[in-house]
Symmetry: C2
Subunit: 248 residues, 2 copies
Amino acid sequence: MATVAFVGAGPGAADLITVRGARWLARADVVLADALADPALREHAPDADWIDVGKRGYGPATEQAVIHALLLRYAARCACVVRLKGGDPSVFGRLEEELAVVRAAGHETVVVPGVTAALAAAADAQRPLTRRGRGRSVALTTAMTREHALCAGRHADSEVFYMAGTQLPALARQLAAAGWPATTPLSVVSRAGWPDAIHTQHTLATLAQACVLHRGRPTVVIVGAAASALAPAHAGSAAAWQAASASA
Amino acid sequence: MATVAFVGAGPGAADLITVRGARWLARADVVLADALADPALREHAPDADWIDVGKRGYGPATEQAVIHALLLRYAARCACVVRLKGGDPSVFGRLEEELAVVRAAGHETVVVPGVTAALAAAADAQRPLTRRGRGRSVALTTAMTREHALCAGRHADSEVFYMAGTQLPALARQLAAAGWPATTPLSVVSRAGWPDAIHTQHTLATLAQACVLHRGRPTVVIVGAAASALAPAHAGSAAAWQAASASA
């Protein structure tokens, strides 16, 4: 029986994997990697067989079954299989199906969390996902249904949509229909976490303009309080300064 | 002018920091660290002054002002200040105020994302936060208002509450009032990401029983679809096996 570790690679750039994730790569006999993973991640697994199971060239349903078959094949042969998934394995990663298949075959499973794209996008935009008092909840959402229809709602103070890059005009219409005002701020971040990340700022009324800039790049759209500008600075009272001086 | 890097340490255990975060620690002149950060993280910053700014012994308002004052003091003296924050800096991290203060003083700011507790908890529970078809959105929420009142709602298919460990019976009442049925599944995970993490499984009706097990430990409560058991395994069709065999 093998150990199969489902490891979050982070949003792309190799240095956004966790130290624990890198250590699992180092002990892997084989790595089944998503297409989004940075090739530089291979440096962490110099002795492993590296198999690209990115979703290109298959229909989505067949493709997932192929991944299941490969997981079972390599788990039967090896002591340690790493299934390297983009972002965090627990968020929009099809983890449920893969865990169930591997466990049903009697293998041990481990999940190593990773930085999901929403967090990397907020970091690049330097606009936090939660705001004290005015942004107490943030929802991570896929705008696409299983049938590939776009369906956006209004769940929380802020909403983060994954993989909406090609459909920004439709997303804007859906958000308006869900009750978000035309003046709602939006941050659009593509290639979050990479050196060439782009962050642009919009309102719901002007979201469609983001299409050209972000075309062809993995995109995250942040809607609501989390997309608003930072509140003005309050450095603190004189008393606080004195307390800091006395204790430092 | 200094560079101030706001780095997510992850949920606690030192090896859940990102490789990028560890590299920022290595170049820091001074590190201002939250109390939750693992002392083992200091190995990444052997030459830095390490200052514990954990929120103990101050009122919350004063304390944040002291952190602001310390940030400005060290940014004025050093080339590189790391502000090491538990979890991800953009999620329930008071990042907005600190970014605003540092930027207003003219310093360069960088944000390095981290693994937020919800992701680590889902990894420990091996129950993904999103489920294909039945769990399309997940909301990260603090159940506490600014006035320290408990206030839980129903925002998404799944809801994750931070820091609710001491108030599980009150949380259960609030969730019921917000419309979650008594049979709703809940995962409770404390010390997520650590070797001694505990995961227990409940329904809304039995949530209060989790109090004893998780008492005194940082706790995350996952409500709804994300807390349900895994769907049964489908290894894939014979055709998918054959396709995998042919291509491997």
